[in-house]
């Protein structure tokens, strides 16, 4: 069985010292005990570097090293092939290790000696179990490594204030700390009773802006039922969706963005994101492995989804309107070629240079901003003035504006459009134009 780094968390408790072997450029080895090894993520460990040690010197010349860690519960040993990557002298991880090292050193009366100089980050290339004579208990995975990973993801979520950053922190955390590399987050469009994709990881296309109706598929069902839904073996489930080839041409024709997805998914899980009794969105994770999501994975993901929902709700309720934008002088110097923006009023779909961008409220928002730019030469706008604009006919959900703007911003990025939306502080946005737009409106 493949041993994952997170399965070895019992080896990183600092109970039984780890060992590191390095070699200088002439091949002369150095072998040393380590005071502290920390799990960084599923592919990295961090080593404290208190002294200008031979280890530190060696790995800077020859990054290959061997690490031996011991499970404090049964003495089983694991050999890690590691490679030195970089050194850190500050940051969250550094502070965390410095605090732990101070506490541990004070206990053994070496507080002054063990001052942390830096931490060295190593990539883990391979993990092997060292042969053991003790029966067959050669591998005892940690009881629930998911929960320490979830704790770290939740801690990072609690630092974020902006919805886009909350989503990114969650999806990056799932990939880097739980090893779930194929995921997406959808937010609830409360006016339309639909969900739209606001971020994803691990797909060829991001699918940002793709929509799912309530009750539709695993994601829609999780939203409608407000319960996690898990499928552990999809080999007999026909995936109609995967037959649809998604392409720009297809988007242009249907004015619909396809949901991303793994064509060979075997396991899928969709979790509702609920806060304050209100459905905020859905977290969806999938894997090409059968039975990829254990009961504990399910629980850890539910905790993360709930925490993200709370952070999103708080972000929405604290959304500030920003001070009204000053009329900036007409920007006549816009360099670059002219480009064509077409707006179809009946569904508010917007095409840029004949490429479908988006429809609905987000489309209406973009056209509104573009009109103001063309009429007044302004590129900066406050959320407040957008909210109050009559021609926008915004749905009566005050807190949805931020997510609409986020969706629009990400879709513009995704398409590499000549218009980009830039957030310039809380409650304010700016249009960045790579050419002169020509707006054509079809009533």
């Amino acid at each position: 069985m493949t041993i994952r780094l997170r399965d070895l968390s019992a080896c990183f408790e600092g109970v039984i010292p780890s060992i590191i072997a390095t070699a200088d450029p002439d091949g002369m080895p150095n072998i040393s005990y380590l005071s502290h090894v920390q799990l960084v993520d599923d592919k990295h460990v961090a080593l404290s570097n208190q002294f200008f040690s031979k280890t530190a010197v060696n790995v800077r010349a020859n990054p290959a090293a061997a690490l031996l860690v011991v499970d404090a519960r049964n003495g089983e040993q694991y050999r890690l092939d590691v490679r030195f990557e970089r050194s850190l002298q500050s940051g969250e991880l550094f502070q965390e290790m410095a605090v732990q090292l101070r506490a541990a050193s004070a206990q053994i009366g070496m507080a002054d000696i063990m001052r942390l100089r830096g931490i060295d980050i190593y990539g883990v290339v391979a993990i092997r179990h060292v042969p053991s004579p003790i029966g067959k208990t050669d591998f005892l995975p940690s009881a629930s490594p998911q929960f320490s990973a979830a704790a770290e993801i939740v801690r990072r979520l609690s630092e974020e204030t902006e919805i886009g950053a909350i989503i990114d922190t969650m999806l990056d955390g799932l990939r880097d700390r739980l090893g779930f590399g194929n995921s997406m987050a959808l937010l609830m469009d409360r006016a339309g009773e639909r969900l739209f994709t606001i971020g994803s990881r691990g797909y060829e296309r991001t699918g940002i802006g793709s929509e799912v109706a309530m009750g539709d598929g695993l994601i829609g069902m999780a939203a409608a039922e407000r319960r996690p839904i898990r499928v552990s073996d999809m080999s007999r489930v026909r995936r109609f969706g995967s037959a649809i080839r998604s392409s720009a041409a297809e988007e242009n024709r249907t004015r619909t963005i396809q949901l991303p997805g793994l064509s060979d998914a075997m396991s899928q899980i969709a979790l509702p994101m609920v806060a304050h009794g209100v459905l905020r969105g859905v977290l969806f994770v999938e894997s090409a492995r059968r039975l990829a999501f254990s009961h504990d994975d399910n629980a850890a993901l539910a905790i993360i989804a709930a925490q993200a929902a709370g952070a999103i709700a708080l972000s929405e309720s604290e959304a500030v309107d920003g001070v009204p934008a000053l009329a900036s002088p007409l920007d006549t110097s816009t360099a670059g070629r002219p480009f064509r923006v077409v707006h179809h009023a009946y569904d508010d779909s917007v095409f840029i240079e004949n490429e479908y961008l988006i429809k609905g409220v987000a489309g209406r928002l973009l056209v509104h901003l573009l009109r103001l730019y063309l009429e007044e030469g302004r590129v900066e706008f406050s959320n407040r003035e957008i909210r109050l604009a009559d021609d926008l006919r915004l749905p009566d959900y005050k807190d949805n504006l931020e997510t609409r703007l986020l969706l629009l911003r990400r879709r513009l990025e995704d398409k590499g459009a000549p218009i980009q939306l830039i957030r310039v502080g809380r409650g304010r946005i700016r249009l960045a134009l790579a050419g002169s737009p020509f707006l054509k409106e079809h009533r």
């Binding site: 450029p25 150095n30 519960r73 063990m114």
Partner: protein
């Protein structure tokens, strides 16, 4: 080089013995020994280990002879590292007797520190023992602190 007698005594006591080697691609390897026999006059230390458990260590020594060994006292972290060239030699009766005595003594010391035999058993094994005869070229203080890495003895 002649080894300091105190150091020789230290290597033969109930200390943890860890081995560092590297292959020709400069990939390091780790092993543990279960006993050491020092001959201070000759500047040699024989290290007894399980080739079943640490095959990489034995094949590296066989290939290029490079060997480093750190002796660390579990109770207070006092540590020394010896470096030099080694050869793989068959175990003698003295080696086997040393390994048996070492495992008994070290198990007891570790048990006193709260690591019972059920924890230390995977480190202290006697399956397929062989020995590495190290010709020491240099010795370093490895105890954590300001003197760590300082050379204690160097060969001519």
């Amino acid at each position: 080089m002649r080894l300091d007698q105190d150091l020789a005594n230290f290597t033969s006591s109930a200390v943890m013995i860890i081995l560092g080697t590297s292959n020709d691609a400069l990939q390091p390897e780790i092993g543990r020994a279960v006993g050491a026999v020092a001959r201070p006059e000759q500047g040699e230390i024989d290290l007894v280990l399980s080739v079943w458990q640490w095959p990489g260590t034995v094949s590296n020594v066989r290939a290029n002879g490079r060997l480093s060994v750190t002796f660390a006292r579990p109770s207070d972290y006092v540590s020394y590292q010896a470096k030099g060239r080694a050869a793989v030699i068959p175990c003698t009766d003295e080696h086997l007797a040393r390994a048996a005595a070492y495992i008994d003594a070290t198990s007891a010391v570790l048990a006193d520190l709260g690591l019972g035999r059920e924890i230390s058993a995977p480190w202290l094994i006697t399956r397929d023992l062989t020995a590495l005869s190290l010709s020491v070229e240099s010795v370093f203080v490895q105890t954590p602190g300001a003197k760590a890495g300082q050379m204690l003895q160097v060969g001519r």
